[in-house]
């Protein structure tokens, strides 16, 4: 085989809380790629809010690979013609190599005795969540609360409305909310990605916060995809495909577990990383009719979320 003229490069456009995971994954993948006898590849990852990242790719950011928080963000890129509409069927598990869910982070000892969604609408409880209008993660928070209300005989719209009446600060992103709760000391409970909650515990001290897993939550599937129209040549396509496929390898799945994601393949993962996750009843997006419907009905202009804040 003729030697390649130049080092291959790859840009992975991702969302905020995957920073630590992809830093390690890129190093592992680079080693894997060279072990296949290939030339060294240079891999860059860009992080930001999921929607903003999708917009950059639509507007021309030359990403070969996107790893975003919501399938609907990648759907938008597909609508712009940058990748095929059936992208989500190309890789196993709905193109989601790892999943996560929404849990509660409370202050050490759980002073407000919060055990499930129902406790969040109690008088005087302050709930911290990012704004569902600007944060993909916050949409999962909202949907998880909705699912719990449905299953517990409450009127979901009313329940979610009451919950957001208890929110004193709506940050624009997940990290912002974690800061508000952990560093600024605002609120009694933080609704967070499970991986963000564990990360906060690790970074800020296990003696300060507890993680509470509610009885019902959502199956958040952050999907990955190859951006067809940004692939320069076959060599880059091969690199990009391998980059995505390798996410499903036992080594990469172990890394995902290590970074507090619920991955699929436990064969190479450290047992304590796997045991960390308790069983939860998880509701997926199809339960709500898929992202397209959810986006219009709940989070679109004048949708159910907007109605929470209409003056009575």
């Amino acid at each position: 085989m003729a030697p390649q003229a130049q080092a291959q490069s790859l840009l992975n456009v991702s969302y905020d809380p995957t920073r630590e995971f992809y830093r390690e994954y890129n190093a592992a993948f680079a080693a894997h790629w060279e072990s296949l006898g290939k030339d060294r590849a240079s891999i860059e990852t860009s992080h930001g809010g999921s929607g903003a990242q999708a917009r950059s790719v639509i507007d021309g950011l030359n990403a070969q690979v996107v790893t975003l928080a919501l399938a609907s963000d990648i759907d938008r890129i597909a609508e712009a013609g940058k990748l095929p509409e059936d992208w989500q069927s190309k890789l196993p598990h709905n193109s989601s190599p790892y999943t996560s869910t929404i849990v509660f982070l409370v202050r050490e000892g759980n002073p407000r005795d919060i055990t499930d969604w129902g406790d969040l609408i109690a008088e005087g409880v302050q709930v911290i969540t990012p704004n569902p209008k600007t944060s993909g993660g916050a949409r999962w928070n909202y949907l998880a609360a909705w699912a719990w209300a449905e299953k517990n005989g409450q009127e979901p719209q009313e329940f979610v409305g009451q919950l957001f009446k208890n929110v004193p600060v709506l940050d624009s992103g997940a990290r912002g909310s974690t800061t508000t709760f952990a560093q600024r000391g605002i609120g009694d409970v933080l609704l967070a990605w499970e991986n963000e909650a564990y990360l906060a515990l690790k970074e800020l001290g296990e003696d300060q916060f507890d993680i509470i897993v509610p009885s019902v939550s959502v199956l958040a599937e952050p999907p990955v995809a190859l951006v067809e129209s940004n692939i320069a040549d076959d060599a880059q396509r091969e690199l990009a495909n391998e980059y995505l496929d390798y996410l499903y390898s036992p080594e990469a799945q172990a890394l995902a577990f290590k970074h507090f994601y619920r991955a699929w393949d436990t064969s190479a993962a450290a047992p304590e990383d796997v045991e960390r996750f308790p069983e939860v009843e998880l509701v997926d997006i199809e339960h709500f009719g898929g992202w397209k419907q959810v986006q219009d009905e709940h989070f679109g202009d004048g949708g159910i979320f907007d109605q929470i804040y209409v003056p009575q």
């Binding site: 809010g49 624009s172 600024r184 986006q295 804040y309 209409v310």
Partner: protein, 284 residues
């Protein structure tokens, strides 16, 4: 002026590329959307609330900056004291700092567990409520995540504008002018009102307009301290970002155009005041 044709050509081209084209693109997007759609987007309680909040607090912050910017410039020019040069340099810091950094720093300071936020809650609020309680609203002592927090952020980003525009004018005013006024029998306040302020007012108004314009469009520093609760502490630029987040470019452009129109009206009003004050004073 030699080379007028060339220099004017370069300037106008640059101005078009850097300023007029983006604004043109915004208006173009709006034109495609249509006037009635723009109105429908803007004419909703939540958008009105955000616009009212943004412009009202920007106006308050600009007025605050007008008063304290002039005082600050006066002190920096007229008095010699230790640390004056340091203070003079520090005035520009809000320009140099990324606004998001400023927002995070201000929030850390004014959050209930921050130094100033804690002080306000534990001392200012109880004393204030004991003294003023019977006369009106109770102050809970919260600064961050309220409109007071937004106001503080807007003051921070706008402060250099007034100070820096009036500083050179104060340097131009000779002390003899004040002495002449005094020897003719004017008191201090009369001298300030009839001699000093008229000379300062055109520059101060320019600084006021700049501070106001900056505050209206400010995003980075405000969203961290605002709390962003719709109808209460949600600023208009955040609504634009929210629309973009929904890939709703038309609605974002509509709110942008509404802000542009209101800003333009306010700047026009300030210009008219400037013209009026110049006529009245008759010189400068």
């Amino acid at each position: 002026m030699p080379g007028l044709g060339l220099s004017a050509g370069i300037t106008l081209t640059m101005l078009s590329l850097v300023v007029l084209l983006p604004i043109g693109a915004l208006l173009w997007q709006g034109a495609n959307f249509g006037l009635s759609n723009i109105w429908a987007t803007v004419n909703r309680p939540r958008v009105w609330a955000a616009l009212y909040l943004s412009f009202r607090l920007s106006l308050f912050a600009a007025i605050f900056n007008l008063i304290f910017g002039v005082l600050l410039a006066w002190v920096l020019v007229r008095y010699r004291f230790p640390g004056r040069r340091f203070l003079d340099a520090a005035v520009d810091l809000p320009f140099a700092l990324p606004t998001a950094v400023a927002g995070i720093a201000l929030t850390a300071l004014y959050a209930p567990n921050g130094v100033l936020g804690g002080f306000a809650r534990d001392w200012i609020a109880p004393i204030g409520n004991a003294v003023f309680g019977p006369f009106g609203a109770q102050f809970s002592g919260k600064i961050a995540y309220t409109q007071i927090g937004i106001f503080i952020a807007l003051v921070f980003v706008g402060l250099p504008f007034v100070a820096r525009t009036v500083q050179p004018v104060i340097e131009e005013i000779e002390r003899e002018v004040e002495e002449a006024s005094a020897t003719l029998g004017a008191g201090r306040l009369y001298t300030i009102r009839r001699v000093i302020l008229p000379m300062l007012s055109p520059a101060a108004l320019t600084g006021f307009a700049l501070a106001l314009a900056r505050a209206v469009g400010e995003y980075g520093s405000v969203i961290f301290i605002a709390g962003n609760i719709p109808m209460l502490t949600e600023i208009a630029p955040l609504l634009i970002v929210i629309q973009l987040e929904e890939f709703n470019y038309d609605a974002a452009a509509a709110i942008g155009i509404a802000m542009l129109v209101i800003s333009f009206a306010m700047l026009l009003a300030i210009n008219l005041i400037q013209i009026w004050s110049r006529r009245r004073i008759g010189h400068v």
